[in-house]
Subunit: 705 residues, 2 copies
Amino acid sequence: MLTKNLITATILLVVSGSTQVHAQIIHSPSRKLTLQFQLSQAGEPTYQLRYGRKPVVLPSRLAVLLQDQPGFDKGFTVAKVDSSSHDDTWAPVWGEVKQIRNHYQELAVTVQQAAEQNRRLVLRFRLFDDGLGFRYEFPEQDKLKYFTVSDEQTEFNLPANHKTFWIPGDYDSNEYTYSTTRLSAVNTTPITPIEKRAAPNRVQTPLMLKSDDGLYINIHEAALVNYPAMMLNVNTQTFGLSSQLVPGATGAKAYLQTPEHTPWRTIVVADNAPAILASKLILNLNEPSKIAETGWIQPQKFVGVWWEMHVNKSKWSYSDASNLKLSGTDWASLKPHGRHGANTANVKRYIDFAAKHGLQSVLVEGWNVGWEDWYRNWKEEVFDFVTPYPDFDVEELHRYAAAKNVKLIMHHETSASVTNYERRMGAAYRFMKEHGYDAVKTGYVGLIIPRGEHHDGQWMVNHFNHAAEKMAENRIMVDMHESVRPTGLHRTYPNWLANEAARGNEFNAWGTGNPPEHETILPFTRLMGGPMDYTPGIFQIKLEGWNPAENKGKQVHTTLAKQLALYVTMYSPLQMAADLPEAYEQRLDAFQFIKDVPVDWDDTHILAAEPGDHLTIARKAKGKDEWYLGSITDEQARQQPVQLDFLTPGTRYVATIYADGKRADWEKNPMAYQIRKVTVTSKSALKLQLASGGGAAVSFKPVVR
Amino acid sequence: MLTKNLITATILLVVSGSTQVHAQIIHSPSRKLTLQFQLSQAGEPTYQLRYGRKPVVLPSRLAVLLQDQPGFDKGFTVAKVDSSSHDDTWAPVWGEVKQIRNHYQELAVTVQQAAEQNRRLVLRFRLFDDGLGFRYEFPEQDKLKYFTVSDEQTEFNLPANHKTFWIPGDYDSNEYTYSTTRLSAVNTTPITPIEKRAAPNRVQTPLMLKSDDGLYINIHEAALVNYPAMMLNVNTQTFGLSSQLVPGATGAKAYLQTPEHTPWRTIVVADNAPAILASKLILNLNEPSKIAETGWIQPQKFVGVWWEMHVNKSKWSYSDASNLKLSGTDWASLKPHGRHGANTANVKRYIDFAAKHGLQSVLVEGWNVGWEDWYRNWKEEVFDFVTPYPDFDVEELHRYAAAKNVKLIMHHETSASVTNYERRMGAAYRFMKEHGYDAVKTGYVGLIIPRGEHHDGQWMVNHFNHAAEKMAENRIMVDMHESVRPTGLHRTYPNWLANEAARGNEFNAWGTGNPPEHETILPFTRLMGGPMDYTPGIFQIKLEGWNPAENKGKQVHTTLAKQLALYVTMYSPLQMAADLPEAYEQRLDAFQFIKDVPVDWDDTHILAAEPGDHLTIARKAKGKDEWYLGSITDEQARQQPVQLDFLTPGTRYVATIYADGKRADWEKNPMAYQIRKVTVTSKSALKLQLASGGGAAVSFKPVVR
């Protein structure tokens, strides 16, 4: 329900007699938050945001600069002010909760530049009780049809030297561990770049901040469409943040045509950490589903021929040949090295395992030709997405999986050669449908082709959205790796189940891995935009267990119980049981939690949270009275008390508690766990003992009488 | 037949006792040309070329520089020298002659760099009697797999201040008139750039030169595959030319993987101008046809809904709307402006005309939605290639054309948004095949997307070749406009009938048009690489005849008779009868030549030629004893004597001579022509009177007894 009315006069606070210094003020529905919009003396649009009496954002400029013409930055007068309130409820196709309330006060200020033939710009603000979204809108007008954004200069001037959880502003990768510093100490220089070295003070969004006066603030964006991703330049002296759009190949930021608008810039704010995680502001600012019939979209758990390559038991490639060319190589004649993971027999083993344990699907990486030298050559033709290696029998596996009621998940690694992928998409999707695949994991490792473009620039943003749309047309679900980080577009394209776009569990198989705090920060940062395919569930924590020579000293930086807890704390409708079948078969009691845990929910309670420290979440299974709880900690062991008042009053539940073993410790004793069952009600409480780098997972099922 | 042998020892001329200064010398089959290869004292590869005793190219360096590693430029020693001779004859699928002899002496010098871990490079030379081709080859080797060419520094050091016919080295367009100057006077600065301003001394190939001592020299390249086009920087002091590769978006020139090679750099040389035009060197240096079954490839003449837009009788667009978006526009609801050329009734008129006069096909431009604001917005989604305007009934026209045994030619204007075209190619070609189209004219007007790439860079070269290949798979013939200029690849892809890639007849409908000399230069420059869709046959020379208001002062810069002659002098297997049906219906006697003239030939005689002045060619029709002659002049009226000794001895022919009228003059009286018939034999001679900017066309058909 949208009640649109011109109530400018009643809500305007005129702070000065000058006609230039109008201020428009709106309050969030329950008046927690206050937004003030104002033009400066120079006609510069500015905004400020308060939480009660506490400043969240000090007066900050809003500007978009244009190539080859004057910018939308100054010389404005207010032409029109619209305000309206909005309150409705909608149901996501899948999600953490069954229903989402979309309740905000809107302010749309049309400003115009007399000196530029009355060129107009609309600044639209939506103020929720849990934060603010605003965007620039470029209406169709005589003096603005096609235009190029050379820069956006949106400021977020913070009032103090907040604590912040940041990763470097790499234009091509989000796969970093988080640094936790004051704003004054942001410095990306010592960090090894993944793709391109970021500027010293440039960080990515979602950026999580915490003020000394008790506010939690998250800055990101919603509905990133036809525009580059926004990074933030941190002024370490003034604590001002300013937008940095990712450039395209020419250096320009965005090529636009009116009517158009930027994504929403979002500021989620609360006086407690759980409220940040509970916020649906970003989803609310996205468009409803463009997919009419969604019955084919299935949240799911899967295993995959994948971790065995990471732990050096097998390989993506089929042979030791190198310097191959996609066309012109006789793949059948290559001499196999004998360690190819995606061979028919091995895939059948995974299918058998999935069928036996009720997991829906099996991902197979390395099935198609091109892996011999796919990496880092900035080569256009690497994969064709339709030619299996000689030992991967696509027909037989289609038959075999179907007979066992298991789906295979396709894998399209593009090696960032996106022009090549786009040329071949049609054939690739036809191949999928012909062979029974209805989901695909895509990958974009390396530097982008078209050369000069970045993963997070406008062209690639359009590619990712185009791919999701094209897949939807073909009834294909997708999990994108190395994509731009999400901004809630899974509301609009619910076939877009998950992204990677952060540092996943796989890093634990390499180098330094992820520190124990990593999974307590991700929900406050990367996951604010959407689900992540983090690939939890590693049981063989010490990787030497697989290959003593090659994995020496490598391990996952959590306990086994924490791996289970991640299925609840790290929300995704697509969850991998990432370890090898043989790892699970050795610990079927613990594996029971992975078998049980749902991937779609009716309700979610954030019970306790502090970014970088700990996180406890309880969720209610979709359509039944079962609850699942995950609780994790960083390197600090801690006791987590849990009130079970979220359970249905009057119902008795068997709580199965998968906890760290008595002397468990992520480093010294990570695989010790204990499982116990207790009967509980909504009046019960639990005290979960979390080891250093540990966690606990609990299932609550009604007692069967 | 390839006779490969190691005859280094016998052909080596050791010019010095030093081991570093070996020289390898080879001669062309009849010893007209001599090539000498030599390493300098610094181990730099150099070559020189002589025609008899006349130097063609003075000692000139050969170098390829690489990104992030030492270049292939110096420090070489000779590791291996191979020489061989080759002589065979092959038949083109279509062409100017029935058979082509490929006769050359080859020298392949493997050089290696001791200081770079013996990195190797092969310099391969093929010396024909009519010129030289050479290329760089990068063999697969341990120290060279993936590499990036930052620059190629191939020199063509000319011995004197030759006369040259040049256009500016624009990376995105060849649509210039030619400047005729000495090398010392090359200066592109005063020339209005079409896309990007070229450097002052940068010119394009094919570059035609003429020396004061009577040599005609043409520098170009053959088989441009996976590499950027080569332009030439002219040193106006020393008369040295050096290669300038067109950069990609990152500034680098080419991303390569061994084994790989550059295109052939070609120098066609002769002591007379006709021999330049008769050269098949560039075709000989291309690979044989990759298309096995070629019966579906049909040289053809066509009319089109096209010139009527140029002369402002109708428009490509359907409405006066602007600032439209491809998706989201309800095209059916646009208010038509009533001047849309590609409407069903008008197309039927062209079909009727083609059917009546035995022309095979009808091109229709402006049939598909998007023309309202297609131009110069650097916009990615302009056309979808499958949605007709509301007044273009694709089903009805398919039926109508088929009933009249006429083919429609598809039009794919990409507006240089190549990513958009590549995404939609599959659907576009399916649409063509479903609606009876088997040929397409493509267009690439504007700045390229991927942004930062150029029409003539490696990425776009790959696109054009990819498109030709993909079309061949779909049995589609193609005529590419605004493509990179051709390099003989129509031998390899005979479905690639023609390109524009030069300043076509259409320019006569705009601004200053093409000067009368233009068509006497094109065969020596642009056409050296392959056929051009020049669109001759304009009868209504004064364009005010169509639209007095909008075409005031505009005209084609030839006589009408010269327009006829162009069908012979401007070789192409795809020839348009470019004017409007009503123009031809008023002059059906002259139109008879266009009806008669073939588009495929058994033989060709270049009877007289001088670049910039005049050109006379006779050709024998494919498979029958008919000859066609075209003779054209520049702005100088002249008498062209023609000996008819090319005719079959003993046969009597009716020669129908389409000549300029008595007081014809391209400017003052261009549409005056006269047609006469005479009976001739191989012993006869003609004296053709060519008016200023005029020409003559002659058909020779055996006298029917």
